[in-house]
């Protein structure tokens, strides 16, 4: 067992280093950065325009950029309005506990992280099987340790990319929205980064599962894209059609896709977070195991 963990550590370190060295990692980092920066910049621009119009309308002096959103968030009337709009008091109040800039960052991160996680993880196994580079390793280590190291490495890569994009988003927001409370924004963005990373784990596992089934890296990448679309569609159908009688099957579908637990991650209480964390871990393990069931017996 100690040999297994030693090999897992050595392989994971190499996987992280190899991922970071590759041009693919540079592309993934750039995508994360671009998505976060463009989103935050667009939000800041829209907010500033709104604040400018409001200042003109009220004939007050210019508002400090970002101050409006912060004030709105604290306003009792606005909170009541959001509760009414969301329809679920607990979720709405949870959302209002998150600073607006962090909320926006979280929304963006939850949207693009699954896609980028699949994009970076789907070719990781198939590329090495295709090129034969895994043949230099798999007589030295077990296939299970190798696959697990890929999961650890890719998860770490997603975390690094998310952390980088979070830091960039906060810096940009600090620059563009002077009225924003920097401490609460930093805390909110860090919290959302952690949750988005947790949300990304089953997608990394799904990408690696596809990569273990499909030998061609390009086909694996295409299958990863379809999996992203497909899981999103399934979650949408599950939410829309779940109900009494035979429609209860849709609830099972919601359990099989990570998006089924996304709402829990938005909540600020511990219980829904733990519920989501548990099921996302189960899903990650199930996806990885499904891929490994084939890879363990496949010819290399």
């Amino acid at each position: 067992m100690s040999r297994f963990f030693f090999q897992l550590t050595v392989l994971s370190r190499f996987e992280i280093a190899d991922s970071i060295r590759s041009r693919r990692a540079a592309a993934v980092f750039a995508l994360y950065l671009a998505a976060a920066l463009l989103g935050i910049n667009a939000f800041a621009t829209a907010l500033q325009r709104l604040e400018l119009q409001l200042a003109e309308l009220l004939q007050t002096g210019p508002l400090q950029p970002g101050a409006l959103a912060d004030s709105l968030w604290k306003s009792a009337r606005f909170r009541q309005m959001i509760v009414a709009l969301v329809g679920d008091r607990q979720t709405a109040l949870s959302l209002l506990e998150i600073p607006p800039i962090a909320l926006l960052y979280g929304f963006l991160a939850f949207f693009y992280t699954p896609f980028f996680a699949l994009l970076s993880s789907t070719p990781r196994v198939s590329t090495e099987v295709y090129s034969g580079s895994c043949r230099f390793l798999l007589f030295r280590t077990s296939r299970s340790a190798w696959i697990l190291s890929k999961f650890i490495g890719q998860s770490a890569l997603v975390f690094l990319a998310l952390a980088l994009s979070a830091a960039a988003a906060w810096t940009l927001a600090r620059f563009r929205l002077a009225g924003m409370n920097p401490t609460s924004a930093a805390w909110g963005i860090a919290l959302m980064t952690g949750k988005a990373w947790l949300f990304s784990l089953p997608f990394v596992a799904l990408g690696l599962a596809i990569s273990q089934w499909v030998r061609s890296p390009n086909t694996a990448q295409a299958a990863g894209f379809l999996a992203w679309i497909g899981s999103g569609a399934l979650a949408w159908f599950a939410k829309r059609y779940a109900g009494e009688g035979p429609r209860i099957a849709w609830e099972a579908v919601a359990l099989a896709v990570p998006q089924g637990f996304q709402l829990d991650l938005w909540r600020m209480e511990l219980a829904p977070f733990l519920h989501a964390a548990f099921w996302l871990t189960v899903l990650s393990s199930a996806y990885l195991a499904a891929g490994y069931a084939r890879f363990a017996r496949s010819d290399l």
Binding site: G132, R135, F136, L138, R140
Partner: protein, 315 residues
């Protein structure tokens, strides 16, 4: 005698194509074994099976007398130089060999020294920190050779190891292989039969996924039982010569340039045979360019394997 690698009735198919068809052989521990056969005969499949990269459909494998290959059970004892495989392009030579050494059970405090020695052996000291993608094909091949000898493997499987090496590196690599004789069992699959003839002491010939021959190389070549005379083509009376030595099977090539004398080594030695044959040939005015004990691997292989051998086997 202990066996390093045993195949017992091993069958392996890829879809409907049968790559190995009840393949059986046993390679003695400590030998330098040449694995030869036509393209598609099943050599690469056999080596991949031995290293656990493929699973057999039927039959038994025994690696180092410890059952079929298992990365935990055979940890650090087996190494492989696979054919047609690429190294990870972005890692440097140093990083890659360190990784392989750690996984090959080299103690952590010896890893750096082991890797440094391996890199020196393949003369890549100046490319230590170069990414693999910046190396030429031959240099990458040398890194692959270096990784196969990290640590203390007792079974080294080498698939076409000299492909892509320049003559100087090929000679140096041959020396490396020879230096491992007795320390480990080396199984070398190659089409360069002259290389194998110089290096190996054991031979396995695979054709159509089956074993055509296995045994000591000297037996296959007839060393100790065959003398070859390279002649200048001058005509002489072969029947008369044959009548003087009826126990010796003589064959003369059509152009009279090669005389093969197969003899019973228990009754006659090479010196006695030479005395008779050389004397008679010289008396007949035949010019003698060379005398060679035993056949060449290439000519004996070509004589044994029909050129129209169908490949591969289909079920």
């Amino acid at each position: 005698m202990k066996s390093a690698l045993v195949f017992d009735q091993v069958t392996k198919s890829y879809g409907s194509r049968r790559a190995l068809d009840s393949l059986s052989f046993a390679i003695p521990a400590g030998s330098l074994c040449g694995l030869i056969g036509s393209n598609g005969a099943g050599k690469t499949t056999a080596l991949s099976l031995a290293a656990g990269l493929l699973s057999p459909d039927h039959g038994q494998l025994d690696v180092l007398e410890n059952g079929p290959f298992d990365p935990d059970r055979h940890a650090g004892k087996v190494s492989l130089l696979p054919q047609d495989s690429q190294l990870p392009p972005e890692a440097t030579v140093w990083e890659l060999l360190r990784l392989y050494a750690l996984l090959q059970n080299v103690p952590q405090h010896k890893v750096d020294a082991t890797v440094r020695h391996a890199i020196q052996t393949v003369h890549l000291d100046d490319r230590l920190h170069s990414p693999i993608r910046t190396l030429s094909h031959g240099m990458r091949r040398r890194v692959m050779i270096a990784q196969a000898f990290l640590g203390n493997p007792t079974l080294v499987l080498l698939d076409e190891p000299l492909n892509g090496l320049d003559p100087r590196e090929a000679a140096s690599t041959r020396e490396l292989f020879a230096s491992w004789k007795g320390r480990a069992t080396l199984v070398i699959s190659s089409h360069v039969l002259s290389e194998l003839e110089r290096l190996c002491d054991f031979l396995v010939i695979i054709e159509n996924g089956r074993t055509l021959h296995q045994g000591p190389l000297s037996d296959w070549l007839g060393r100790g039982a065959l003398l070859l005379y390279a002649l200048d083509g001058t005509p002489f009376d072969l029947e008369s010569l044959q009548s003087e030595a009826p126990d010796i099977a003589m064959t003369l090539s059509a152009d009279r340039r090669l005389l093969k004398c197969r003899y019973n080594a228990t009754r006659l030695d090479a010196a006695a045979l030479n005395r008779l044959i050389l004397q008679r040939l010289l008396q007949a005015g035949v010019g003698i360019h060379a005398v060679q004990p035993g056949d060449t691997l290439e000519s004996s292989y070509l004589a044994a394997v029909p050129s129209n051998t169908p490949n591969p086997v289909s079920s």
